[in-house]
Symmetry: D2
Subunit: 339 residues, 4 copies
């Protein structure tokens, strides 16, 4: 780290900072300028807080040199991770992963019907919510364990891996039993206990970006999961909160190249939650594929106007099928395949 | 709700919308303009999603009339709630509540020392973290259950109610056993399972505002707790995430008058987390009291440069004592007392 | 507009609101609910402020029905505008417009060299800054009128229309004399005097989105220009300000489909200013084309490390040429052409 | 500045960076770590762009040490500036400055009436808009030069300095002739030509913070004015744009202590534009005074429901007078006076 001293820092203050750094195993290299002294401190002590130094007398600022995450970083692993999610499907390779399905699981019939439709259209992973995090306590909260069973049955029948959200540390074991990929939703991206728990569950994790979380915080949350021994983390950009109200959130397309620069983990895009409106889903989905996403998560419902949740952002199966064909052309244009 | 039809909506489309609304028990009142038809729908069906209507053919927009929360609203209760948190301390009355203490509980000695110092300075509630939500898995995560015992002992010795954060549904019972007020942190404001669980615990809840949550979402989270039968919810504004980097977050002072307009729940201010820098704490603390906050939560540490967490935003006990005297003068200027 | 009265609004208050609306030529349609009265007011009075009504006794809220812009809206013109910018180049048709060139004009030689390179690579419009809005008064502010002449010469020599920014009402005439397209930069998107002035200049206008401006405000700024008689407005999304610091701004890809939904004006994307880093430009450029943008604005410099301004986001000519080939494949995948 | 080299930077790359820095007059101090090399570069070259270095081969990041502004900084002047705005009124001293008046000047009678009322209540500076920056071209744009005359007359009659906005470089001379303080509005905070022009006008400048501008950008805009020789700059925090919609903008109360830390310029608060709602103005005004603001700007209108602009945020004269008495008590609580 680099310690920038105040203009008027005394020799004694500079010395005290150097001593503290050395006590923590850093090598120090002071640079004396006309106005300011700057101290370079060499050592890889990620667990040491910079705060101690920041609060010392005469210190103006402390600048980190190392990234705070290791396992998720490109420093550790240069080549992109490819994650096997079961039933022969991989996320992160040249064939794009398409997670599709309704927001909420409503019944066995509804779910299997949609599952078949999205599979026919070319989706390779089935998504659906059994435990729904809803803003209002008066909204439908999901079928919970019954939903998991429905999902499991449909996945088996259609031979598709399934992905569903877990929202409570107490449910991790149960959800891991029924599903192939566990989703951590945006609102739980910094629910660190839940991250640790899914880090132990042995199944791949889809980690959605928090509503207002930075790329660095997102990778730190991946690090939580990975530090428990689970390296199978798939990032999912689903829009961030900004001042703009024309869409529900603002899809951060640059998260795709930035994550590729910083991390070896695959990243998929969720244009449904990002825009909140089915009309804007195709445009953002195409953009994400062209920008280099490893896959998509798209909400599809056979009757959006009767959906228990998130109807306005769901595509009808026929629109989804048409979109898949368009996406395939774009995937090929960037050297990948989708169908 | 108000349904705004598209310019070119057909008579058949308008009729279909009316029929659906009536099927759900609404009375409909169409208004035919030159360009547009608008349908007023009367009825108090908060649990009905507007989405169904929004997706119908010919519909441009749907505008809600009723607020989505009830129990937290002023519609239900006009007078401000005053919450008894034990040991004779109340939050929401004319005497301001001051929660003070270190970010993390480090040892019995440390905690009791600081507890005595903040009590001497006039604080009436002791705060400290046993379970710490940390951005990095490599940072100190708190003393957990040992920390709860330390806290309990200090609270008893100093005769102060204690407030500590709970981050996992599995810990609610344990934390409720040891502490007088359970804190829901910013990162868990929309951890709905945890909200439901603390809604059943019988102890007052301090509900911090999420990093990027609106006033409405915040009150909806209070509604989650209240809908489980726990009406003792204290709001805590702790800064929101904006583009500005000069402070860690941006303290939203208008959250104070806005919450007073919308809700009967008391609101306190946390200038320590909002600013992230001890230097800015006094100014924001004074502003919050003048703006009408029912109390403050301030981090105090006897040795910030050695704090296990959040040192840079902690006040030293002597600075805290000086600030309390200044705050008391401001409290009096707005018709309240602090010391 | 829709007027939502407070729960306890009196008959007298309701009557007064109705009377005021009628005085302004609205037809009123009150709807009496159990708890609330709502008044529908029919009439197209865009210039009337809703404020008057909002402040009347008993009024809780006022909801607009009509969009505040007309000329820029799809209501007025359903088919997309195609704008002729000179030298046979059109913006908004099936052939994409590519604006390329250095951030700042530095010399005749530099500019013509880059102009030839970007033309060879397939760009059809030349961009460059003569008047530079710089955050610091101590930074290079552009060659001003000398820069305009250089630009004019290069445009003539390479037979390319040129686009440059105007930052002062006093310079509009001069800039319009030398350039084919006048750019209004992000920082001037709500410089309404400048908007009016360029509305009178007779040349097409490239209107960049303000750093923190909504889609509606952006279209209102287009409306300013159009209301002076200049219908040739090209929108340019260049990233918005959010909390994320990994990129300079956050490119709002959904601005592309949203603008297509609301307006007939063409929209291009500027990935250079949006990301601030050349490494992320190709990914965002491809995403924008796939999402349906009508063109791109990309900074190209033959020696970015010596650029007078914005070097880090500039592509080298050879990288730009390679990107153009990739973009052409994506353009074709969405039914357009680029080369 | 500090140059952080990439992990795998070669000796040749490091040498090249050092050479470039030395060519620009910097002294370089390389620090060789196990993984990384860091180069400290000593010298005060604010006008040198860090971009050149950032783009060199092997460079990971460049960290500035010096603040980019000089004249506005505390480095240059430690004691707070007190600005004489005429007629015996000073901004920045222990007596708070209160700018009050209507949003727009509507007529001589209206303006003088309100002027008298705010003066009676204790305001010491008269504000009002002659040139109005309005989001819609169809809204009232102000009385322009007629408004200036009205304002001048009222100021003379009531013996109050007047403050009004200038929005066009062509009007600076005219506005400077009629008014005592020229206001640069939020939308023009980075209209650098206008900043330079008012820097030459010889009158004090009220510089509002841009809608989405950082503290640093704000001080850089002050620097623009000051670098033209005009040191009489008053900062005005008026709320920033965030995701929250309960208020029009989010008043950033921490801008007060942060500006005091970084700059010697006085800062006032505008709760009217920040909140957009008269109901929230008193609370935020009190908060700002308690937090250390040097004054306030408050919109007052004798008939808000008929105001040509911004009625909903205007206080009626009697409410303003009541608020002034409350503010005076708070001012005294922080060692200042208001009445």
């Amino acid at each position: 780290m680099i310690i920038i001293m105040k203009d008027n820092a005394s020799a004694k203050e500079i010395e005290a900072v150097e001593k503290t750094l050395e006590d923590f195993g850093f090598q120090t290299h002071p640079i004396y300028g006309e106005k300011k002294t700057v101290i370079g401190a060499i050592g890889d002590k990620r667990q040491l807080s910079m705060n101690q130094i920041l609060l010392m007398s005469g210190v103006e600022n402390v600048v980190p040199i190392m990234k705070p995450y290791k396992l998720a970083s490109k420093e550790l692993q240069k080549e992109q991770s490819v994650i096997d999610v079961g039933r022969g499907v991989k996320v992160g390779g040249s064939k794009l992963a398409v997670f599709a399905g309704p927001c909420a699981i409503e019944s066995q019939e509804q779910f299997t019907t949609i599952a078949r439709q999205v599979k026919d259209a070319g989706a390779n992973i089935l998504r659906g919510g059994a435990f729904k995090p809803r803003t209002s306590p008066y909204s439908f909260q999901g079928l919970e364990s019954e939903g998991l069973e429905i999902m499991y049955n449909s996945g088996k029948e259609c031979d598709m891996p399934i992905c569903t959200e877990v929202v409570d540390t107490r449910d991790v074991e149960l959800v891991a039993k029924y599903s192939d990929i566990l989703q951590i939703g945006a609102r739980n991206m910094q629910n660190f206990k839940l991250l640790r728990e899914v880090g132990k569950c042995g199944k791949p994790i889809l980690l959605k970006r928090g509503l207002a979380c930075t790329m660095e915080e997102w990778l730190m949350s991946a690090e939580y999961i990975m530090s428990e021994g689970n390296e199978n983390v798939i990032l999912c950009e689903r829009g961030i909160r900004t001042y703009e109200t024309a869409t529900r959130n603002t899809f951060d397309i640059s998260a795709i190249p930035v994550s590729k620069e910083l991390s070896h983990l695959p990243i998929i895009a969720d244009p449904s939650h990002a825009t909140g409106t089915y009309k804007y889903v195709p445009s953002v989905a195409k953009g994400a594929v062209a920008a280099g996403a490893d896959g998509l998560m798209i909400e599809v419902h056979n009757c959006p106007e009767k959906a228990a949740s998130d109807g306005p952002q769901s595509l009808k199966p026929e629109k989804f099928a048409a979109l898949m064909k368009e996406l395939d052309v774009i995937a090929k244009a960037v050297g990948k395949t989708l169908l």
